[in-house]
Each structure stands twice: as C-alpha cells, then as structure tokens.
C-alpha cells in the first residue's frame, strides 16, 4: 500500500532507510527542521542545515522514487536562546521559495519556558507574514499535556490563523481531543518507546475517528523506525480494519493536509529514478477512492 510519512528526519537516516521506506510503499515524506541532538554554535549552522534539507535530501530521496518536502524553523530545543532565534528567523525567508518547502515547522515548545513561547510566537508571526502552513511539535513525556495546552491557547489568540493549515504533532491520549476540537490537524507519532505505539494509535483512531489525523515515523537519531507506518498498516489489518480506512489515514489524509500547499504534488512519483528526476509512475491505477479522484482532478496526484 502507498503511504506518505509526514514526519521523518532523514538527515539522521542512512540510504538503506530510504530503500526500506521505498520498498514498503513510501512515495513521499516531509522533513521538519529539528534538533540534531546537540546545540548549533551559530546561525550559520542553520544555513547549512536548511540547504541540506532543501537541496541535498530531495535529491537523495528521489533516487528511490520518494518525493521529499521540508519545513523550516529553529526547533523548540534551541528556542531558549532568543538571540540565536532572532538571527535564524531573519534568515529563513530566503529559503521559503525553495520548491520543496511547505511551511514553518516543527515549531513548538520543549520545557515550556517563557523564551520558548516567545520564539514560538515569532515563528507563528513569520508564517502568517509569508502565508505559510505550520507544523507544530508538542513536548515530550510529562511536558506534553502542559505544552499542548499552551500551544493551542497561543494559536487561538491569532484571529488570522486557519486551523486547517496547522498540524499539531505528537498527540497522545490526553492531548488528542483538545487539538481536534479546535479544528487543527494532528499527527500520531509511532515510536518504540516514547510517544505512541501502533496499537495505541489505532485505539485513538477507533475512539476519535480518522478525520484530520495522520500517522508518522518521526524517525531520527534516536530509537525510531523508518518503517513505522507500514508496521502501523500491518497492525490495522490485524485489528480487522479495511484497506479503505487504512489508505485514508496513511495516504489520503496526508494529501488533504499537505495538498493545501501549491508546491505539494505526487505527479510522477514512484519507482526507481536517477538523482533529481521524477519519471511518471505506471502503478496504482486500481482501488482509487473518490477523494483521491478529486485530488487527481485537482492535479495533486495522478
């Protein structure tokens, strides 16, 4: 089954991981800017990073028929340093026109400090100023509930924000409802330890429904699986859910959310390619649902 991983930090992954993702059905992924496990020493480090995820990684992914998109920001783990944040934010606009950049993200909070919140608001205002979609990280573990509440309340203060263009990620059982009830999209992160397992993600979908919801691997330099989405598909089938429902969650929902960006399209994706080339796919003519046909007619997919 084809799928889109809406959250994958491929700068931390090997080429073998791209191969594994391609072989298990991944046709596209998005890579939010994040914390590499250590703090950068200057804004110049972010310039290099932004070039990596807007130039090098799309080419690397394309070799395996995977379309690569990116979100840009200074991540919440480094948001405490206000001077660094101001300098990085000043540099972000020059990358926003890159063909694979979908918006600002993953912004958010880490320990929920006043400086982190100020940096978060600066990013939101940057996104509004440049009419960008927003991808939001919510904190880990004991900080998730507090951080998600503060993020939702902060976003609701902006009258100009369309919640349908904002995805608040890493939701769990105690935060999912507050995100969905306020009109935002959300993501469930399939991790082996922290965040949620495929089994619990399915439970949440059974309780809250599949609307405005995506699942992702969020694979990075820590314990994580680049094939987390196909593992989720396997568990969905084991639980007895239909391929139609599974396809909605792993393919159609990401297209609905990401397709709000005019840059997002899957035309020509699929199959092995050479660097930088996207030959047309010759697969997947079967079992198309109505929503995909609508997206096809709009030119988002073929």
């Amino acid at each position: 089954m084809k799928y889109i991983d809406i959250h994958a930090h491929m700068v931390s992954r090997t080429t073998d991981d791209y191969v594994q993702m391609a072989m298990t059905g991944c046709v596209a992924l998005t890579e939010p800017a994040f914390w590499p496990g250590w703090d950068r020493s200057s804004a110049d480090g972010f310039d290099d990073y932004f070039r990596q995820i807007t130039d090098f990684e799309p080419k690397r992914a394309a070799q395996y028929g995977i379309r690569h998109y990116a979100w840009l920001c200074l991540n919440p783990k480094e948001g405490e340093d206000r001077d660094l944040a101001r300098e990085v934010l000043r540099r972000i606009p020059k990358y926003l026109d890159r063909p694979n950049v979908l918006g600002i993200g993953e912004i958010g909070l880490n320990r929920v400090t006043r400086n982190e919140l100020a940096t978060f608001r600066d990013h939101v205002e940057l996104a509004l100023e440049h009419d960008q979609m927003i991808h939001v990280h919510t904190p880990h573990l004991e900080d998730k509930y507090k951080g998600t509440r503060v993020i939702v309340e902060a976003l609701l203060e902006y009258g100009r924000i369309d919640p349908r263009r904002v995805l608040i990620d890493h939701a769990e059982e105690h935060t999912l409802a507050m995100i969905l009830e306020n009109g935002f999209w959300t993501g469930l992160t399939l991790y082996p330890q922290t965040k949620t397992s495929p089994e619990r993600a399915i439970d949440m979908i059974e309780v809250h429904g599949p609307e405005r919801l995506c699942v992702a691997s969020a694979c990075d330099w820590g314990p994580s699986h680049p094939d987390a989405v196909p593992r989720f598909i396997l568990q969905m089938r084991r639980r007895g859910h239909s391929d139609e429902l599974i396809r909605q969650i792993v393919y159609e929902n990401p297209i609905k959310f990401l397709g709000q960006s005019p840059k997002f399209n899957l035309r020509g994706v699929g199959g092995a390619t050479t660097v930088g080339q996207h030959p047309p796919t010759h697969r997947e003519a079967r079992d198309k649902t109505d929503s995909v046909r609508v997206l096809e007619s709009a030119g988002v997919v073929e």
Partner: protein
C-alpha cells in the same frame, strides 16, 4: 519492597487525583463514540491479544522485582517511581479511559511557563512532590 498501599499517603496525592478527575470529566464530555470504528469483539480481542499483553504485564512485574533486588530504598521516594506506583493503581481500577488517566499521572497539570530553561530533556514523570518536600 514496593507496596501499593503506601501510595495513599502521598503528599501530592490530591493534586494527582484532581488532574485525573479533570481529565475524566473532559473525556466524558468530549470523546466520540468508542464503538464506531471497532472491528473486533471482546472475545476476539482476548483471543488475539491476550498473550502479548500477558507478556507486557510480566515485564512490569519483573521490573519491580528487579528494583526490589537492587535493595536501594531511595528508589521508593524517587518521584518517577512514586508516579509509576500511582499509575499501577489506575491500571487496576474498573473505570474506562485508563490510558489517558495514566498519562495525567505522569503529566505536569499546570499551564504557567517556566521562567527559564531548567533542563534540556523531560524525565518521564512530573514531580508532584517537589513543592511539598523542597
């Protein structure tokens, strides 16, 4: 030895309980139907998933036994293990929404931002007892 009965005397018990009760109320008022997308009967869920969840339960028991064998009394007062034992009580009660309520046992229920960064990473449980004990 860990003793679940000790959890009743925790200084932070009321704050934990309040956070859980609040979540229970929120869940009752907002959660959609829990049956709309379920595709397995109770019997099917037991048949399919009992063994793997039995395994998970034994892993938790073995972890507590391991802590016992370590013989370190300080772990009993560690806020993470206090929260862990509190979560076990929620696990054993009969009302639904256990996962969300256990999440709240481990969660910071406040909304006021910290004045400055105190540590880079989360530790897995909020220290409900820090203000009481200093």
């Amino acid at each position: 030895m860990f003793d679940l009965r000790r959890t009743a005397g925790y200084e932070g018990f009321q704050r934990v309980k309040q956070a859980i009760d609040n979540l229970r109320l929120n869940t009752r008022s907002s959660a959609p139907s829990t049956t709309a997308l379920s595709s397995k009967s109770g019997t099917q869920l037991v048949d399919e998933y009992f063994i793997e969840n039995r395994t998970r339960l034994l892993d938790v028991a073995a972890y507590l036994d391991r802590l016992d064998r370590a013989g370190d009394d300080q772990t009993e007062d560690d806020f993470r293990m206090r929260a862990f034992r509190k979560a076990l009580l929620v696990l054993c009660d009969a009302s639904p929404g256990r996962t969300a309520r256990i999440q709240m046992v481990f969660s910071d229920p406040t909304t006021e931002p910290l004045e400055m960064l105190d540590q880079k990473s989360a530790r897995g449980a909020y220290n409900f007892w820090q203000e009481v004990e200093g």
